[in-house]
Amino acid sequence: MSEKGIGSSVRRSEDQRFLTGKGHYVDDMNRPGQAHAAFVRSPHAHARVKMVDTSAARKAPGVIAIFTGSDVAADKLGGLICGWTVKDKNGDPHKAPAHPILAKDKVRYVGDHVAVVIAETQAQARDAAEKVDVDYEVLQANIDTAKATKGAVVHDDAPGNLCYDWELGDRAAVDGIIKNAHHVTRIDLVNNRLIPNAMEPRAAIGEYDSGTGHYTCYSTSQNPHVLRLILCAFIMGVPEHKMRVVSPDVGGGFGSKIFCYAEEVVCTWAAKKIDRPVKWTADRSESFLSDAHGRDHVTHAELAMDKDGKFLALKVETIANMGAYLSTFATCVPTYLYATLLAGQYTTPVIFANVKAVFTNTAPVDAYRGAGRPEATYVIERIVECAAREMKINPVELRRRNFIKPDQFPYQTPVALQYDSGNYGQALDAALKMSDYNSFETRRAEAAKRGKLRGIGVSAYIEACGIAPSAVVGSLGAGVGLWESAQIRLNPTGSCQILTGSHSHGQGHETTFAQVVHEHLGIPYESIDVVHGDTALVPFGMGTYGSRSIAVGGSAIVRAADKIIEKGKKIAAHLLEASIDDITFKGGEYRVAGTDKVKTIGEIAFAAYVPHNYPADVEPGLDETAFYDPANFTYPAGIHICEVEVDPDTGRTVIVNWTAIDDFGKVINPLIVEGQVHGGVAQGIGQAMLEGCVYDNDSGQLVTGSYMDYCMPRADDLPSLKVGMTETPCPHNPLGVKGCGEAGAIAAPPAIINAITDALGVMHLDMPATPEKVWRIAQQNRPAAAAE
């Protein structure tokens, strides 16, 4: 291994600019002549818009223009789209109510966009936005996920607020097994709604060049080409070659920046209307209201077992909240990214899932770190834990009995996926050892002497990453292919650029991808740059989400490198006066096998660009592009173990020990991968203990609309984390990689709730496990004599 090659913890190239304040985020950019936009947002969860009076606002200082839903309609802008069609159990496509760029007749959640004010300064735009007078007729709000089908109608074209009623598997078969099983464990749980909170608020600058007819949209996007496609083909009716989308440094996404939002559309559209660049940056309060939220499931599940605890069947019924409108990929999250994962790491032979997606008067809900897979893992690992307690089988032992064994791969689950590789027992053994699981009872007894309740919880998770084979997702309703592109452009003097369709917003692609090319082409790491995030520079790409960048984007890079190597062989054969069959390539050198005749890849690149002595049948230049469409998903899996101590007097819960053993296949940069685990676990701990989006059920107001009420994980909420890895390479991609970005957020929540319920001696507790909730249970379960 080279010290900068695959497997090496290379320190990140991007850090220099971030550490010195030289990053380039969208809000850091200013365009000549730019104006500023402020949005008028609905203060009501559900209301009819009777009139929008902009006359006073138009007279306010600095105001350039004000646009409303009527202007959007007059310009025939399309609405925001949902790009994945999910078919109802009857075969009908999901209900897709119109999602206008600016609301015209009705507003459907607090924060819904009603108008935009464009002014010389941001402060003037905001001052004037307050003067826009909107006459609302307030309607009953429909908020509660569980009761949504019986609540006020959000869209007239979605009766009963049902977006779809979807099924996977054979209900009758599962019901039959459950009816006759030795034991059935049942659980009702809520997967709490979360607000993603990337630290960089969303921002956009729209620009229009009336000389060329070109638009540019600078946006905080995780996938600039997909944004361009939606902007052009579905909303603005502009050909793609007339639109450039630039996503420079982006300050975290976690899913929330995948989607096409109204604000970036408005800035781009308005730039032409006023013939000036238009900039908008969310403040955090706007982010809370208008970023797509995550999770929000209400689930009932049943697990049937035989007398030995062997899983026989699993039945899962979920209501999933879509919010007021369908966000870009909302429909696939609680179906194809959720129900298809319900086998977990287990051999459960029969599984049935029913998912009812509902509309409510809340912000749209879409993918958030893990997207469906945390919800699936939470159902499985909670019900397995409860089953172990009911059956009085050690929870580790129950899991082990039901694991898919290493010799069963590839393993076809009953819920459509075929797992490629894994060794779950090995990861479990490693985690038990690292967490010192076997001596836990000693620690519990010691804690009891100090008046603390100690508990331990295990989570065995699996996820489907590296999304995804285009034909497969196409057959399931996706409106796009999910391949990735890469271009490797060697320069005459031997340095190179990697142009990737993946997008880095914290993942460290500039380092990891350079390591891959350094390893494959032998070009010095320092001579490699990574270019991403600009549709004018990089080939059409699908962007970064679903832990896909290394598995799909990295594979495309390897394919492009292979093409470089092959072309270089032809040039080397010519220069070295040998047969191409005798040319070998290794470590950046072309050699004639069995001789000391050698040409470096730098020399080959020079020859390719200065082709004075050059093979006649080879094109000049050394610049290759590859598109990689994966053969399957990848299946990272692992075991996380959480140990907590509860203070029964206050309900305060402290995580005292965290162990993570993950199998991500081959690892390119262990330092970066561990960092991804840390961050994912922190978000999982946030979901389980701290975070919960709350809307008032009557008024529909967002109660958790700032960091004063929405509890973000802080340094003193979190433990130091013990992270280890096992490795079963992915057999179907050239790097053997599986992806690591979402694992922690998927694994963590059930590990924590399993630990807290173990400490408290109860079966279940809904997330987030706030001090008051924990205290109430601790009070109920406390021996009377010890009560305060």
């Binding site: 440094d249 300050g251 840390h678 004063m708 922690g744």
Partner: protein
């Protein structure tokens, strides 16, 4: 509009501002020092932390006019002669940053911690970071970086 003058990263600067202009906007918009970020509007996230008269402070909660005559250091003023400050170097060495958005505030806060406490424990570091929110790292490597940075600053 009043004119405000102060010293930023060792240089005297002045500009016309509205009374309502926040220090962070003065730095970003008047001085083009865009390393100082805005991540919230409730003075909690700490992406905007600078040193104000030698102590860490949230530049989103100081008016530019309050900074008349003040000494301000931003993330751009930390590295000297092209050499990363030991705390910056420790963040890089320990992978204490991912998306980089909270990083300037984290580093400025960390440097102030070490000024107050040359050898902070893990718990002291975690407690100090109450006013700096990171969504990427889980703080694990930030805490490691600050401990290492403190050691390096002591050398």
């Amino acid at each position: 509009m009043p004119t405000v003058s102060m010293t930023v990263n060792g240089k005297s600067v002045s500009a016309d501002v509205e009374n309502r202009t926040l220090l962070v906007h003065f730095l970003r918009e008047k001085l083009a020092l865009t390393g100082t970020h805005v991540g919230c509007d409730t003075s909690q996230c700490g992406a905007c932390v600078v040193h104000f008269n030698g102590k860490s402070a949230k530049s989103c909660t100081i008016l530019a006019v309050q900074a008349e005559g003040a000494q301000v250091t931003t993330i751009e003023g930390l590295a000297k002669n092209g050499e990363l400050h030991p705390m910056q170097a420790a963040f890089k060495e320990n992978h204490g940053l991912q998306c980089g958005f909270c990083t300037p505030g984290m580093v400025m806060s960390a440097v102030d911690l070490v000024k107050n406490n040359a050898n902070p424990s893990e718990q002291e570091i975690r407690d100090w970071l109450e006013g700096n929110i990171c969504r990427c790292t889980g703080y694990h490597n930030i805490v490691k970086a600050i401990a290492a940075g403190a050691k390096a600053m002591g050398r």
